[in-house]
């Protein structure tokens, strides 16, 4: 009873997405750069190390508390480039527009893209527009690709996690998912949840300049913190132990999750990053992150342990330990 068609869960960033990439994309495109499994490609041209990444944005609705599809399309790709230890420089933007889409809304989206690009300090230098018949897409889809230069001497990789490193997160989880979700379904929670969508490249550059020893950087987007940490644990062949009481979840997000039955550890974020670093540098990393606008709530959430290899565990408030698996199925579709 194999599923021969694409299902929504194939796009969740969880297990089925991984299977799709592993079974269909990798065998077809196989090469060393793709095989390195970074958050984008790391390649060298004439001795210059570049990071290159692309992402498509299909979020529904187009506007939500804290952002819109345009801001997301810029920040998402900027962050993916930055997580390679790079300074993002140039972006491309491809638009697929539905016949009948209001130009006024397109203008708002484009203005928002430019504003985000200006904040990140990148330029949108090339692009493409396509229009398809009514009903062939849902309003507007945007693809962006980004290119940046990897900072000299920096080696960031999901394979660099080692026992003894601390794991640091820059703030509250789950805000993006729930902001989009509440807008889409007209849900009202006691407190409005605002998306964390933000460009993290300046924070990354500052961090890497001060602490080039940072081993792993990742942004926990689709699939959430739990899925991202599973990827790293598996790529580095180490165990990861988190401390439930240190993981920052705002009361508003927790309340919404309780109502909807979601786990904030699996919700997508668009302005969060995870840093793995040897314990001797932790204090310095925290100091820099906490003094940055996108890192005020930074804290240590766990550490790398020797085993069980490739697994993530969570020490709960009552003192038990449970395994955190990757996301299976789709918790929320079309979140970015």
């Amino acid at each position: 009873m194999s599923s021969e068609r694409i299902q929504m869960a194939h796009g969740s960033g969880g297990k089925l997405s991984h299977d799709l990439v592993k079974n269909i994309m990798w065998p077809a495109f196989a090469n060393d750069i793709l095989g390195a499994m970074h958050d984008g490609a790391q390649c060298t041209i004439n001795g210059v190390r570049l990071a290159f990444s692309t992402d498509s944005y299909v979020v529904k609705p187009l506007f939500f508390a804290g952002g819109d599809i345009g801001k997301l399309a810029v920040c998402g790709t900027v962050n993916d480039v930055a997580m390679n230890g790079a300074v993002p420089l140039y972006l491309s933007a491809g638009f697929v527009l539905e016949e009948g889409f209001p130009i006024e809304i397109l203008k708002r989206i484009v203005a928002s893209m430019q504003q985000a690009a200006a904040e990140a300090g990148v330029y949108i230098v090339t692009g493409d527009t396509k229009v398809v018949e009514k009903g062939a897409v849902d309003g507007i889809y945007i693809n962006t690709a980004g290119i940046g230069q990897i900072i000299d001497g920096i080696q960031i990789s999901g394979q660099n996690a080692r026992p003894g490193q601390d794991i640091i997160l820059n703030g509250y989880l789950g805000e993006h998912s729930l902001a989009v979700m509440s807008e889409r379904h007209g849900l009202e929670f006691p407190q409005t949840v605002v998306s964390d969508c933000a460009p993290l490249n300046r924070l990354v550059a500052e961090l890497l300049t001060a602490v080039p020893q940072i081993a792993v950087l990742r942004d926990p987007t689709r699939g959430g913190l739990a899925t991202t940490l599973n990827e790293i644990a598996s790529q580095s062949q180490v165990g990861i132990m988190l401390d439930e009481s240190s993981i920052p979840v705002s009361p508003a997000v927790q309340a919404a999750c309780d109502i909807l039955g979601f786990d904030p550890l699996y919700l997508a974020n668009e302005g969060k990053m995870i840093v793995f670093v040897d314990k001797e540098y932790t204090a310095e990393v925290l100091r820099i992150m906490q003094s940055h606008i996108y890192g005020r709530e930074s804290r240590i959430i766990g550490e790398v342990v020797p085993k069980p290899c490739g697994q993530v565990g969570l020490r709960t408030r009552i003192g038990g330990v449970r395994r955190l698996d990757m996301l299976i199925g789709d918790q929320l579709p079309r979140i970015c």
Binding site: M1, S2, S3, M8, I318, G319, G320, R322, R323, D325
Partner: protein, 366 residues
């Protein structure tokens, strides 16, 4: 509960854990958490690890998706193939395998299947699509059934005539009776679902004591609620005084929610119904009453359903009765996986097998 500091939580947890071990002594104790929400909460909090080896927790038949029979899925899938039909459902029904397909596969193949967070959204969809028949897949226990009933009442009031319900609602107490009567079951105490009691109260469980002398505690869902409830059960067993206790009084009043129950039984009545893997149980389901039959999908919209096939080797029935641990099923983690479930227990996030698989069978091999 929510105002406790982490330190206070840990201190209380330590107290319950130590008392459970002390009172259990060397006695082998087997407790059943009836409800899937408890199964997940127990895993999420890592509770099994805090219990002594001789205090065992087994999962019961309280995951609505898990106990929904193949035949129901096949009917829903058959309806979804009708171009005049829009199916509305909670998301966790999508992956449940019917005899030869799933709703997710039908959706990918073009069927109009919409995922809801409240059954009331069905009425909006019905209004927006007057030329289509909107069928809501009503699955769940006493907790969700009143909402489905309220939706029917609202549809009647609003004069909506293209909204239908395919009902597979189930009742918890009759299932527990069958379970305790079964020869294979050895359950020393029951952790009862607090949210069901927030609707039906505590009284419907009195037979557990009167007829079966089985200790029972209506339990909440926070880690400390569960630990405290296990402690209460172990204490009863230790003292030899089986009782029906309510740990979840802050949410579940003794008489439940009488308004919700009145709404429920205005629209529905108890009927015999099939539980996947367990069989047909007398008075264990909810059927739409004669007066509201015009909202019953099966009565009003003809459909041809394929001949039902059970999946060979699937042991969901035994898992649901707590007589087989998921890890003892030969399919578990091999051909039956969350991304490709064979049995229904592997589907819902609250399914017994899905929870056991997801949380690594509850033991962290650190």
């Amino acid at each position: 509960m929510l105002t406790m500091t982490d330190e206070q939580i840990k201190k209380a947890a330590d107290f319950f854990t130590q008392e459970i071990a002390r009172l259990a002594g060397q006695r082998s104790i087997r407790l059943m958490e009836v409800c899937g929400t408890h199964t997940v909460a127990i895993f999420k909090a890592g509770i099994r690890q805090l219990l002594p080896e001789n205090v065992e927790l087994v999962s019961g038949p309280g995951c609505p998706v898990c106990v929904t029979p193949n035949e129901y899925l096949d009917t829903a899938i058959a309806y979804s193939k009708d171009p005049q039909v829009i199916i509305t459902t909670f998301g966790d029904m999508l992956k449940v395998p019917g005899s030869s397909s799933t709703l997710a596969q039908q959706k990918a193949a073009g069927a109009d299947i919409r995922i809801l967070y409240s059954p009331l959204e069905s009425l909006e969809i019905a209004k927006e699509n007057p030329d289509k028949n909107v069928i809501f897949l009503a699955v769940g226990f006493e907790t969700t059934a009143p909402l489905a009933a309220a939706t029917i009442l609202m549809a009647e009031k609003a004069g909506i005539t293209n909204f239908y319900v395919l009902s597979a609602h189930k009742l918890v107490p009759p299932a527990l009776r069958v379970l305790l009567m079964s020869e294979n079951s050895r359950v020393d105490g029951l952790l009862l679902p607090g949210h069901v009691s927030s609707m039906i109260g505590v009284k419907p469980y009195e037979f557990l004591i009167d007829e079966f002398s089985t200790p029972a505690v209506v339990a909440g869902f926070d880690p400390l609620d569960i630990l405290q409830s296990i402690y209460m059960l172990v204490k009863q067993i230790h003292e030899g005084t089986p009782q029906l206790e309510n740990q979840y009084r802050r949410i579940a009043p003794p008489r439940g929610n009488e308004v919700a129950c009145r709404t429920l039984y205005k629209v529905y009545q108890a009927v015999d119904t099939v539980w996947r893997g367990i069989g047909n149980l007398e008075g264990s389901g909810l059927g739409i009453r004669e007066e509201y039959r015009s909202f019953d999908a099966k009565t009003n919209i003809p459909v041809t359903v394929e001949v039902m096939k059970e999946h060979a080797g699937c042991q969901c029935g035994q898992v649901l009765c707590g007589t087989l641990l998921p890890t003892a099923c030969p399919l578990f983690g091999k051909t039956c996986l969350p991304e490709h479930p064979v049995g229904s227990c592997m589907v819902s996030v609250e399914g017994t097998c899905a929870a056991w698989y997801k949380y690594g069978a509850g033991r962290w091999q650190g």
